[in-house]
Each structure stands twice: as C-alpha cells, then as structure tokens.
C-alpha cells in the first residue's frame, strides 16, 4: 500500500473523528455508566497506610470498595458496618465487636472475625505505617468466640468506636493480603464494599462495578467511573459538556450558574469541615484584649454572604451544629466598637495599630485568601495592621508541627466523626502537634477529658472548654464549609455531612 500525504491527512482526521464522535463510551449514549468528575486523585489502595489514609476526601473512594468496622449515616450518626454491635464492658477495660455474618470478599471468599482481628492488629503495629497507629494500639489481646471479637483496653480512648468509622478504620482481607502482599494489593485490591474495582488508571480514572453480593444490597448503579479531575475549572467543563454526570467542590459562582441550567441540579450541604484562624501564643497574641478584639471585629456573616454567596455557616466554636459537643449558647458576637475599645485599653488604636502577620493558603479552600484579605480590612478599621503571608499547605503543616506559625494562621479543620476530642481536643491541646496555642490553661482543662469514661461528663467538659476558649479568644472559628455537588436531573444524590460523595448514595431519579 502506498502511503500518500493526502492519505495521511484523511486517515488522521478519520482517526480523530472515530475517537471523538464514535461509539467508544460516548457521553450521550444510553445506559452508560455513572461518571463522577472527582476532585482528588487516588494515590494508594491501602486505606490504612500513608498520606492518603488521612485525606478525608479520598475516603469516598475507599468507602466504595472497602467497608469500615462501623458505618456512618449521612448525618454523621453511626450505624452497623462490618461490625453489627459494639461496646465496652462496665468498667471500660474491654471491648466487644459482633462481626456481621454472611459477608463475602470481592473474590468470593468468606469474611470472618479473623479478618477483623488481623486488620486491627496490623493497624496497631508501628511498622505498617498506619498514621492512626497510636489509636489502634490502645487495644490488644484479641479473642474470638464465634462471631464475637473481644479485646483488652490498654489505654482508654473515648472515641475508639468513632475512629472505627473514620480514617484508617477499614477491614482488609487477611488471607488475600497475606498472599499477594502490599504491591499485589495495590495492583488488584479487594474489599467487601458495595463496589468492586474493575479498572484503575492512576491519575486518570477508576472504574467500579457493583458488588452483586453486597451485604447491604446491590447498589442501584452498575458501573461507576471516577474521573480524577483535580482542576476545578476542568470539573465545571466536564459536567457542563455532559462528559460527567456528577461533580463536586466547584466555585460557588459556578455552582449557582450550573444548577440553574436545564438538565442539571445541585445540592449544597454543610459538611464537617470548618475554616478557622489559629492563634499562636506569641506576642502580641499574649494580650487577651488583642485576641478578643481580633475575634470580635470579624463579621463572619458578611464573609459568608459576600464571599461565599451564602454557602457557609458562621461559627463561634470549633464544633459545628452536627457535632456532639455543639453548644449554641457560646457566642462571640461581632462588635467592632467593643473590639476597638478593647484595643484602646491595650494601648493600640488606628493611629497606633497593633501589628502582626497572618498566614493563609491561596486557593486551597474556597476563597481562603480573599477571606483573609477581607478580615485584614475589618481589622484595619479598628487598629489592627496585619501583613498577609501566603504559604502552601505543606508549609503550614510543617510550621504548625514545629510551633512556628505566625500569630494568626488561617486553616481548615475536618472532623468527620464529630467528636470533640478530634476538634477542640487535638486543635487546642498544647502537647498536640496540631495545636498552635500551647498555654497551660487549655492543657489543664483538656487533659482530664482524654480518659474521661463518663460520656455525658466528657461532652459537658468539652463544652466548658469551648466556652473558655471563646471567652479568651484562643482561636477564631470562622465558618462551616458547604460542599456543592452538581448532577444530572435524572439522578438523586444523598449528600453526607462527612463530605464523602459515595456512589452508592447516587440513584436514578
């Protein structure tokens, strides 16, 4: 066959046309899979190891393939997972876990209590690299009696069962993992979850098939494709062009525009992620009047209304209304006049402003930099002159762990189990690497709550800590984020307060 220039050109065009208009998974085709333009990549398939294990957004992918010990409903309340019943003994020195019967792994082998014990023991070993190892190591000496697993409590952890529904709280297949090893598991992961991995192209897409034997019933949609589209404008283009059926975490302006378009719908739900300003206990934040002036001069409602188009819930503590220790009576009212007076009392004014640095990310969270700019503007009006320093999130983690954050630092804090220990506890307890305020005052108040066995007393204790923090301006909670999800109007999507977009919660309308 003779290859001519004309032939090449025509062939090339035909090739492109075959790909773009042809039958290969055309977006317009009927009976096509559900395609989700997802905002993060999936780095690793082991949900218990490495940085991806502590990335809250990725949990949606893990929860599609694996089951957690304990499940979580859309409103953050807990429900049976692979463990149907759980609890402590009377003096909370032992736990019991009743393992669900009749569950199979994706390879058809039976799920057993041995899998639960192996997963918990593995999670508690330092050498496996589980970032939450310090929680799992608090139980040991496992015993199996029929479907019941019991263990000794080595160190009391009030949120232990909540952690079983949270980061790294997944059951992995003992026999399969032991046989194929870590690399083999990465190549072909199996779980007991509602979906089975059909194909995974790293950084491109994940194709899942419904698990026909799922103990919770076969999912409504047979094939689900997660396209990893980390650029927000590309996700907007994906849903708008019809290449994706569902997307999330897009700018609120785009959310409003897209949900008004024919054929698309939207749902925006407050999720367990808050925007806040860490206060570091260095000059000038050692002066309570300066801290309170900074806190009370921020008009949080204006931030939400003007910058986030109303998509946010102003907060005065590190608890959102869905969390157990939320106390609506704790208020830090917006009062710029009072703030100015407090500053004056501290020796500062608009002519002689108090100066400090505020650090923020830019583009890591919706309008993070713009919010800090607006806050700096509000502060300027009462006599606070703050310089903005933009940094990467990696730098924030490093500085925070080394207690070297600026006097004020914007951050977001997720807490998908809603326990006060994983919000106020770790964010405000001095010895924690996540805490910027190292003062003894909060250490003394929080320390007894770590091993408080009376749950009502523990929750009340955290509410009291939150009140103390608010009265002393030790942190500036700003708002609860709202997660925007846009989808075809032929679908229904059940949003989760945890922020986990689960394909099993998507159905055809």
């Amino acid at each position: 066959m003779q290859l001519t220039r004309r032939g090449l050109v025509v062939g090339g065009l035909a090739l492109t046309a075959a790909g773009s208009f042809g039958g290969l998974g055309s977006a317009a085709a009927q009976g096509r899979p559900l395609t989700i333009a997802f905002n993060v990549n999936l780095p690793s398939w082991d949900p218990t190891v490495g940085p991806s294990a502590v990335n809250p957004t990725i949990q949606a992918l893990y929860q599609s393939v694996f089951d957690q010990y304990i499940g979580q409903k859309p409103d953050l309340s807990f429900t049976g997972g692979l463990i149907e019943k759980w609890g402590w003994n009377d003096d909370k020195t032992k736990i019991f876990l009743d393992v669900r019967k009749g569950v199979t792994w994706h390879d058809g082998s039976p799920f057993t209590p041995e899998d639960v014990v192996w997963s918990l023991e593995r999670a508690g070993k330092v050498e496996t690299g589980n970032p939450i190892q310090f929680v799992w190591a608090k139980i040991g000496n496992f015993a199996i009696d029929g479907q019941r697993v019991t263990a000794d409590v080595k160190e009391f952890e009030p949120a232990l069962f909540k952690w079983m529904a949270f980061l790294t709280g997944y059951v992995l297949p003992k026999a399969y993992y032991t046989k194929v090893g870590a690399e083999g598991f990465e190549q072909k992961p199996i779980g007991t979850g509602p979906y089975m991995v059909d194909q995974f192209e790293r950084n491109a897409f994940l194709r899942l098939k419904a698990n026909p034997n799922y103990w919770g019933g076969k999912p409504a949609i047979d094939t689900v494709i997660f396209k990893f589209v980390t650029d927000a404008s590309a996700r907007v283009a994906e849903i708008e062009s019809g290449a994706a059926d569902v997307t999330l975490e897009i700018p609120y302006e785009e959310y409003d525009r897209l949900k008004a378009k024919k054929g698309l719908k939207g749902v925006a739900t407050p999720v367990s992620d808050i925007g806040m300003i860490f206060i570091t206990d260095v000059d000038p934040m050692l002066d309570k009047r300066v801290r309170l002036a900074a806190a009370t001069s921020i008009d949080k409602k204006a931030l939400v209304d003007r910058l986030l188009r109303g998509y946010g819930v102003p907060l005065d503590t590190l608890q959102t209304p869905e969390y157990e220790a939320y106390d609506a009576s704790i208020k830090v009212p917006y009062d710029p006049a009072k703030a100015e007076a407090m500053l004056k009392e501290a020796g500062f004014s608009k002519d002689k402003p108090v100066k400090f640095k505020i650090q923020t990310t830019r583009g890591f969270k919706p309008k993070d930099y713009e919010m800090v700019q607006a806050i700096v503007g509000m502060w300027r009006r009462i006599g606070i002159e703050a310089d903005i320093e933009v940094y990467e999130i990696a730098k924030h983690y490093e500085l925070r762990a080394a207690h070297k954050l600026a006097p004020a630092a914007f951050y977001n804090w997720g807490n998908a189990i809603g326990d006060p220990s994983t919000s106020t506890g770790h964010a405000m307890f001095g010895p924690s690497p996540h805490c910027a305020w190292k003062g003894q005052d909060t250490v003394e108040r929080i320390a007894p709550l770590w091993d408080e066995k009376d749950e009502a007393k523990r929750i009340a204790g955290y509410k009291a800590v939150d009140r103390y923090i608010a009265e002393n301006g030790l942190v500036i909670p700003l708002l609860q984020y709202v997660q925007p999800i846009v989808f075809r109007d032929t679908l229904t999507v059940t949003p989760y307060v945890s922020g986990s977009l689960q394909p099993q919660a998507i159905k055809t309308a």
């Binding site: 090739l15 492109t16 075959a18 790909g19 773009s20 042809g22 290969l24 998974g25 899979p33 780095p43 690793s44 082991d46 190891v49 490495g50 940085p51 330092v126 050498e127 690299g129 970032p131 939450i132 190892q133 310090f134 929680v135 980061l167 690399e183 990465e186 192209e201 790293r202 950084n203 491109a204 897409f205 194709r207 396209k227 990893f228 980390t230 650029d231 404008s233 590309a234 283009a237 062009s241 019809g242 290449a243 940094y391 990467e392 990696a394 730098k395 983690y397 490093e398 500085l399 925070r400 762990a401 220990s421 994983t422 506890g425 770790h426 964010a427 010895p431 924690s432 690497p433 996540h434």
Partner: protein
C-alpha cells in the same frame, strides 16, 4: 563514528546527572514542607511523629540519606514513593510513555502547523496572506500554553463538545495493551477505534502545547525560507520553469529547515516541561501530573526520581538533536 560520538556524549552526561542528583536531593530536603507533617493525624504525639519519620528514613542526616539513596539508585532502585507506596522506577516508567506520546504528538502538530504557516507566508509574500500569517503567529506566541488549554477546553469541550477534555482514554475502554505506549501499540495492532479515542484525548492538550511552538517554528522557518528564496539555485529553478510550490517545497525548504530544527529541538525540552501544567488541566496521566502530586505531597523519593528522569530526557533529546543536525548538515559531522 556516530556510535563513538553517542558514547562520548553519554559519558559526558554522567557528571551532569550526578550533579543534578546531589542538587535535587539537597534542595528537596531544605525547602519548606515536611512529608511527615503532611500525614500526622490528630492526636499523634511527638513519639508517634518520630516513629513515622524513622519509618521513612527521614530521621538520618542528609549525607547519610544521600549515601543510602545513591547506593540503591546505582542498583536501579530509586526508592519507594511515600504517597503512592510503589517503587519510584515503576511509577515513572508507567507514566513516561504517555508524556512522551503527548510531547511527540504536540511537536508533530507544531511542526506541521509551523511549516504550513511559513510556507503560506512565503508563498504570499508582500500580500495579505503574509500579514495574516504574521498576525496569527504573533497571537499564538502571545498566549501561553495554559491559556490555550483553557480556551480549547471551553470551545471544544463545552461550547461545541466535540472532543474529550480529560484523561488519556475513555474509561469504558479496556485497552489490554502490553506496553504503556498506547497510541503506538494501538496503531501497530490496527485497533483503529482505540487509536482514534487516544488521538481524540491527545488532541486538545497537544494543541495547547503545540500552538506557541508552531508560531515560533513558523516565524523562524518563514524568515530562513525567505532568505533561501533569494539564492541562486532558486533563481535557476525559476528559469527552468519550476512552479513556485515546487521550488519552495522541493528545493528551498530542506535548506531552510536547519534553524527551525535547531529551535524545535531546544523548544521540545521546554515543551516537555510545559506538560506539567497541561497534564494537570486536562487530567492527563503523565509524569507532569505525577510531578505536581509529588510536590504537593512532598514525596521526596518521587520528586528526586522525576527530576532525574527529566534531566536524562533533556540529555537524550539534545544528543538526538545533534545527530539530526549532523544528518541535515554534513559539515557538522566533522565539527
């Protein structure tokens, strides 16, 4: 002769690679951002953090870490990615083919477009056609590739959704290929539909990368082509009655090509660098996308591996270019 030249160049490249390795190793460890800080869970104590640091070998001094890494690297083991938990070498080898296919495809488009623009401009010299060519190249040059990416995505992905705007292959297709050079393998196996889908996915990112390069090639080639058209052999061809197209395409273009080839070679390395952003925008699974994730996660072994691969690619590309120059201009073979 050529073999000796290639071997000599490869030997000369070794100190460069060692220098890059040392520099990158030290740099990624002194810039802000601690990979362990990225994965500290709420409640982790200083002891827990130290344990994690030890697990990833980050508790040792930088020279000690380098010695361990270099020893393993010499044996072909570039370590394990912290975030992806796989061997760096296998990750890079799995991604490199898609980036190479994208870069080569973009370069082919750029050469074709640039050549067409140059020939058209010279053919219509002094007329509206030349002015239009100059305006087009000026416009293409003034818009950076990532803006082209967004524009192309808007036009061909949203307004007239003719082409896919993300990924490398439709997720419903199971290629079942042996190699990672999907396009090459699809063409060799005669799987036209899959090749078409791959080309469709390549087209927008490749165009975004190609347009600025095409404009550069067009300008340089047009200028050198215009000079060639004043040479005696061109006059002779005219006297012989050759058509203008035949003179341009058959006689002058080859002689005018050397500056454009030189430019293309240099720009190809920049184009490969440009894939980082373009791959991110189009969610294209290449090493550029991998590099961004590695930097965000402060995945030190992966960053090191990727930069070494980039360095090696630049060396190989430059070597290849020298060989192409030598083929085009015999005087260089003995230079």
């Amino acid at each position: 002769m050529i073999v000796r030249q290639v071997l000599s160049r490869l030997l000369q490249a070794l100190p460069t690679l060692v220098g890059v390795a040392v520099l990158v190793f030290v740099l990624v460890r002194v810039v802000p951002g601690d990979p362990i800080a990225m994965m500290i869970a709420p409640g982790a104590s200083p002891d827990d953090i130290a344990r994690l640091r030890g697990l990833y070998g980050l508790d040792r001094s930088i020279p000690e870490q380098f010695a361990i890494w270099a020893g393993r690297a010499l044996a072909g083991d570039f370590g394990t990615s912290i975030s992806l938990r796989q061997s760096v070498m296998s990750l890079v080898l799995a991604r490199l083919p898609s980036t190479l296919e994208l870069a080569v495809f973009a370069t082919v488009i750029a050469i074709a477009l640039g050549t067409a623009l140059a020939v058209f401009g010279v053919r219509h010299r002094g007329r509206l056609g030349e002015a239009a060519t100059d305006a087009a190249t000026g416009f293409a040059l003034s818009v950076p590739d990532f803006i082209w990416a967004l524009l192309l995505m808007l036009v061909f992905g949203v307004l007239a959704p003719l082409l896919p705007i993300s990924g490398r292959l439709d997720p419903s297709v199971d290629p079942g290929f042996v190699t990672r050079f999907y396009l090459v393998e699809a063409l060799l196996r005669g799987r036209v539909a899959v090749a078409g889908d791959l080309v469709a996915h390549l087209l927008l990112p490749a165009l975004a990368l190609a347009l600025p390069l095409a404009a550069m090639i067009g300008r340089v080639l047009k200028s050198s082509l215009a000079e060639e058209m004043l040479q005696d052999y061109v006059m002779l061809a005219r006297v012989k009655g050759f058509s203008r197209w035949r003179i341009i395409l058959g006689e002058a273009l080859r002689n005018a090509a050397i500056p454009a080839v030189s430019l293309t070679g240099v720009q190809f390395t920049f184009l490969v660098g440009g894939t980082v952003l373009i791959e991110k925008i189009f969610s294209f699974p290449g090493i550029g996308n991998l590099a961004i994730d590695a930097v965000i996660n402060r995945d030190l072994p992966l960053i090191q591996g990727l930069i070494l691969v980039f360095a090696l690619m630049f060396i190989v590309i430059n070597l290849g270019l020298d060989l192409v120059y030598a083929a085009l201009n015999p005087r260089l073979r003995h230079g």
